[in-house]
């Protein structure tokens, strides 16, 4: 069930340059089905900014009814979001969309997790749950530069993790695909989220892999009604907000 709820800010902190972690509490969390789902956040009161902002659920705790979002303060909306105070309430719509399917892999299998920039957050909740299922995870996180690297340590607790930066200021220099190439991991499926360019590079280099990609698109409604967020599929089209944002590799055309 999709809920619209004024969720309470449990904490908010800056974890890297322009990157914030916010923890929210509310009943909406009980409705989350899978990592990779997202919420649609209204920031500011009044009509400017007008539209909600889609933000992935990074991690969630259904017992405590809390979830974490990580976001980059960039434009008007996310800048305002970075200024909310602990204890205040924000207007959240969700959970939205379909998340990653954990059932793809069984105990003992290995998942290659590939995150780029602000695409990293939903992969953390995913990785945690895969590990809980007994799945091994190997992780490649790509960032632009050292200042914006986050969550490396958290992923390291879950499995082998390497970081690449485009400018080489941290970890290995290059793109995530360079990171994958250098490590000769065996894996059973790929789970990736990041800029479309990254997803394209990934699927063109590893075209026959099983796995899932999480897409981004500008949104209106976030619930499948306005057709703002469609992408072409091998057959017909898909709405990123309600059919996705997570799609099996090969289902949609990047």
């Amino acid at each position: 069930m999709i809920k619209k709820e004024w969720m309470e800010v449990q904490s908010i902190s800056k974890i890297a340059k322009q990157i914030y972690e916010i923890e929210l509490q509310g009943d909406l969390v009980k409705e989350i089905k899978a990592p990779g789902q997202f919420v649609h956040v209204k920031v500011g009161n009044g009509f400017s900014p007008l539209l909600r902002r889609p933000i992935s659920i990074c991690d969630f705790d259904q017992e405590a009814s809390t979830m974490k979002l990580l976001f980059r303060s960039e434009g008007k909306g996310t800048k305002l979001l970075s200024e909310v105070k602990k204890g205040s309430k924000i207007d959240v719509l969700g959970p939205l969309g379909n998340g990653f399917s954990l059932e793809t892999l069984n105990e003992g299998d290995t998942a290659l997790i590939v995150g780029g920039g602000i695409g990293v957050p939903p992969l953390y909740g995913l990785a945690r749950r895969l590990v809980e299922r007994g799945v091994n995870v190997v992780v490649v996180l790509g960032f632009a530069t050292e200042e914006v690297v986050f969550y490396e340590d958290k992923f390291k607790e879950l499995g082998d993790t390497i970081v690449t930066t485009v400018d080489g200021t941290y970890g290995e220099k290059g793109f995530v695909t360079d990171g994958i190439r250098k490590n000769d991991w065996h894996y059973d499926a790929i789970f990736a989220c990041g800029p479309t360019q990254m997803l394209k590079a990934l699927t063109s280099k590893y075209p026959d892999e099983r796995g899932y990609l999480s897409l981004e698109e500008r949104m209106g409604c976030g619930i499948g009604a306005c057709f703002a967020c469609v992408c072409r599929a091998e057959e017909g089209y898909r709405k990123v907000c309600s059919d996705g944002p997570v799609f099996p590799i090969g289902e949609v055309i990047l």
């Binding site: 069930m1 999709i2 619209k4 209204k42 009509f47 400017s48 900014p49 007008l50 539209l51 909600r52 719509l93 698109e217 500008r218 949104m219 209106g220 409604c221 976030g222 619930i223 499948g224 009604a225 306005c226 057709f227 703002a228 967020c229 469609v230 992408c231 072409r232 089209y237 309600s242």
Partner: protein
Amino acid sequence: MKNLQVQLPGLDLKNPIMPASGCFGFGREFANLYDLNELGAIMIKATTLESRFGNETPRVAETEAGMLNAIGLQNPGLEGVLRNELPFLEKYQSPIIANVAGSTVEDYEIVAREISQANNVHALELNISCPNVKEGGIAFGTNPLIAAKLTERVKKVSSVPVYVKLSPNVANIVEMASAVEEAGADGLTMINTLIGMRIDVKSAQPIIANKTGGLSGPAIKPVAIRMIYEVSQHVSIPIIGMGGIMNAEDVIEFLMAGASAVAVGTANFVNPFVCPTIIKELPEWMDKLDVNEISELVGRSWKNEQTINRSPRLSVK
């Protein structure tokens, strides 16, 4: 008890609130959120003869107190709508208004004839004002002769009343309204979006793939109010008003301007529960304004005026 009922050609509305075309799909998604029977009516997404994919993405961009969209009339086509979408809505009592679009007069005729025969379609909304398609669309909506011709042809084939959706991108909205009224329109819906654009200064590119898009939301409300105020004093067919409605107070403003009912578009994206919320709040507003029938508010802004203007004249006698 406050009476929210409104009677319009073909439409027996239990309240004057309905979602606007294109902002509610064919109702499925919202049906998961609340009971669609709460709505006065439902305006479904534009239907064209053939199915359409629409424009490339990005299809939306945010503006100050508004948004641009260039969906490009994506829809499953007449057959798809008749087979898959309208039947789903049959379980609800709220009357359906089918938004009809096309590139040629013939397209409009076929879609209008067929869709108007669907059980639950109580009225058509003739979309002669979509700014986001290359052919047809807006051309029909900016030339009064072409608009009148189209209205006439569609009226001939439609089994239900026909409302014509006016574009605000014209110099003389009263001329457009009068032309389609004379051509037989049963009502008007207004306004569609203003044509706008945003450029991303980092890339120097238009944000929307289609370059231009339709501007909707609170930013355009003053334009909508002005046009409804002018048109409602010049035509005798009813108007369903829209353009930036976000809450019950906005609805009152539209009714006072001269609309008989209203449609809510963009606001559904900001708050998907906005329509039932407004419906719940209307009686409070009626209380404040001391009216029992919502229809008493229709055109009150200019009705008041006329009273004021008339009295000195009367006293001269």
